[in-house]
Symmetry: C2
Subunit: 152 residues, 2 copies
Amino acid sequence: MDISQVAKQSGVPASTLRFYEEKGLISSVGRQGIRRVFAASVMERLELIALGRVAGFSLEEIASILGSEENPNIDRDLLQQKACELDNTIQKLVAMRDGLQHAAACKAPSHLECPRFRRLMKLAVSGAIKGEASNKLVKKHSSNKALQPTNR
Amino acid sequence: MDISQVAKQSGVPASTLRFYEEKGLISSVGRQGIRRVFAASVMERLELIALGRVAGFSLEEIASILGSEENPNIDRDLLQQKACELDNTIQKLVAMRDGLQHAAACKAPSHLECPRFRRLMKLAVSGAIKGEASNKLVKKHSSNKALQPTNR
DNA sequence: GTACAACTTCAAGTCAACTTTAAGTCAAGA
DNA sequence: TCTTGACTTAAAGTTGACTTGAAGTTGTAC
């Protein structure tokens, strides 16, 4: 596949594909003349990258999770750790979704005053402020300093 | 509360608090001389903001969800829409978490080759690439240009 | 009453993740 | 052969979310 095919099929702009290649997130199988040639499997990788972004991981983190295309990563501890981080995130988002949903239906003058909303948010919120930094900072920390507790 | 108290208790730097105030995300109840004075309720708001960030919303979106502190937003359609967006995100993240978790335990040489992993990811991934842009770009489009198609 | 730490504003700087631009390369059709 | 259009690189520009710095102000401890 050439870059424009990948771009068309994936919806990811060619400029982004080049950028991702430069960052080591994807790789072309070779060149035809000066032009990149991609394997079909790059599509799957792009989807995983997109997913990782939705999950709040940085490109650098995604790279470390996925490893190189030829020699994929199997750092099981890292995977498990990311799964945990994600699970924490999910729990917050679920509470927030429920909070939003309730707020949309609630007749209280302001959802911030609705006790149900506040209770839901309390659930979601525990540790959210420090939690927010988690995807970014914990990674940073743990790559610098080894096993820090998950709770920050 | 003065800004340093809020900063200390919330973990949010004073510079960020000023930045958030400038952006209309929080507001001080007044000044003592030149210095901001915050109501205790700002803590709750900061937690909601942090949560919104984790959920992948931009500060602008969060502002529109929360409304002003005195006159909070009750655009129920918006809340419902955000709840839906969040639900889509959550579903992807759940599949991804399960995928990561499985990959961490799986004995296949590379998780990209493990059929279970691939099946989980397929679930997560459907629409992830276009989905990723949703929180950011769809908002942009809809505020700039009215109804543009979701695909960029 | 004065020193000074902690606040203030405003402007500029940083960082990640891209996008855009300028200048060049090349395969293919008229 | 010559043009054209899709690719190429390298560098600069953009955006969102902050952070940092410089220069000024002020409440409080001495």
